[in-house]
Symmetry: C2
Subunit: 256 residues, 2 copies
């Protein structure tokens, strides 16, 4: 009998979030699932790691799988601890998510969900980050179930090059209106921020970071933003190499 | 008279670190300097932003510049607050650093220093992250002063494309042994982690993340690791687009 693949599931919304509950159950169809996820919400943590403080892990039993831990660290810490401490071996697939909210375009760089997937890829494991474009607490993760299952299946069959993972975003649509899956690039875009100023009861100012996302290329039809706006799941192959290779020859004036 | 450029300085080691003190003084030669930097060490914070908590800023007077604030957030928060709240305009240059320790190869993705520079580039400003390959508290930042000044000068003269910044690493060498500056790519490499297990006074385990960096391509001579090992400052053009463009046509099997 063939050995079942080992699938590590993590996220950034915390181990008790509905999105990780859904994907853990779905992943059980494809292999032996283990969960190592943050013990509290860690959204917007990017590729942060814990080096100025200690880490703790605690056995939990929320997902009904044998190997299941809540970790005090970031999503990237969770992957490192799972691979190097809990499992002491590479899993066959890392799944991060399903995130409550979009990680398309520039959001990839701020996202704890995607950083966990990138970390999985760095560790040499096929990795997928899933995000649903719906922040509401009663978001329905099941509408795109068939497509999510297809992507898990394909990821187990066809290995990606080392260091590359998938950034999958799912439109907020009923199943009947989802048109399919598109392989696309990360749209150029950014947040326009506004800091909301408030006063604490002692008269001191404090601030909330808020903002609006702006798509810099709304006309392009090969981006994740386009795919999502047109009823498709977007799949962006995402890498940890941040070199702007095309510029290497153009900036020789910096040399001396 | 020409308007002097506005230079925003930040870092991830905190506003009182020697590295930011050195670069702030040097930057004064080139423009009007403002400092918005973390009020405590924020190493390894990657591109984290503060969305589940509030932010505070406090006027300081450690660097002897008029506009100078310690911010409770991450390095990326500092850049966002500086641009959108403190300055309410784009500076002409963002300098992050000088970091105490290397940010070459894959370290770019974990680095708060580099995330601040990338955020600057995302905001549309030429940005440089500087790091010295020396973790010691009495590290000498002045040895490469001529080269650092050259890079600041070039960055003010020759604008980089939007969304691209410079990742500059400085070898730990006396001035006479530094050979120059090389424009190179990010070396493929990663950390092999080990979690050091200890027990608290109450008998519960806790962990420290430790590890060793491994260069996956020690033979390549067009990488930042090569430049540093051979006596050069490494300059990597670094972008926020994480799409693995070369793969877009190879992974159509994920579509459906």
């Amino acid at each position: 009998m063939l050995k079942r693949p080992v699938i590590l599931v993590t996220n950034d919304d915390g181990i008790y979030a509905p999105g990780i509950k859904f994907i853990t159950n779905l992943a059980k169809q494809f292999g032996d699932v283990m969960v190592v996820a943050p013990d509290k919400p860690q959204s917007g943590m990017g590729h942060a790691i814990t080096i100025n403080a200690t880490l703790r892990i605690q056995k939990t039993n929320y997902h009904g799988v044998e190997t299941e831990y809540a970790c005090s660290g970031t999503p990237v810490d969770c992957v490192k601890m799972a691979v190097n401490h809990v499992l002491k071996d590479r899993p066959d697939l890392v799944i991060s998510g399903i995130n409550h909210g979009s990680n398309s375009s520039i959001n990839v760089i701020y996202s704890g969900t995607m950083s966990a997937a990138i970390e999985g890829a760095l560790e040499g494991t096929p990795s997928i980050g899933f995000s649903l474009c719906d922040y509401s607490s009663d978001a329905d993760f099941s509408q795109a179930q068939t497509f999510i299952a297809h992507l898990i299946e394909q990821s187990l069959k066809n290995k990606m090059p080392k260091g590359v993972c998938l950034n999958v975003n799912i439109p907020k649509l009923p199943a009947a209106q989802i048109k399919g899956i598109k392989v696309v690039r990360q749209a150029r875009g950014n947040w326009v921020e506004r800091f909301e100023e408030r006063q604490d009861p002692y008269g001191r100012n404090y601030y909330w970071l808020t903002g609006e996302f702006v798509n810099f290329e709304p006309e392009a039809c090969d981006t994740d933003e386009w795919a999502l706006a047109n009823g498709y799941l977007s799949v962006v192959p995402t890498q940890a190499d941040m070199t702007a290779h095309a510029l290497l020859n153009d900036i020789k004036h910096f040399e001396s």
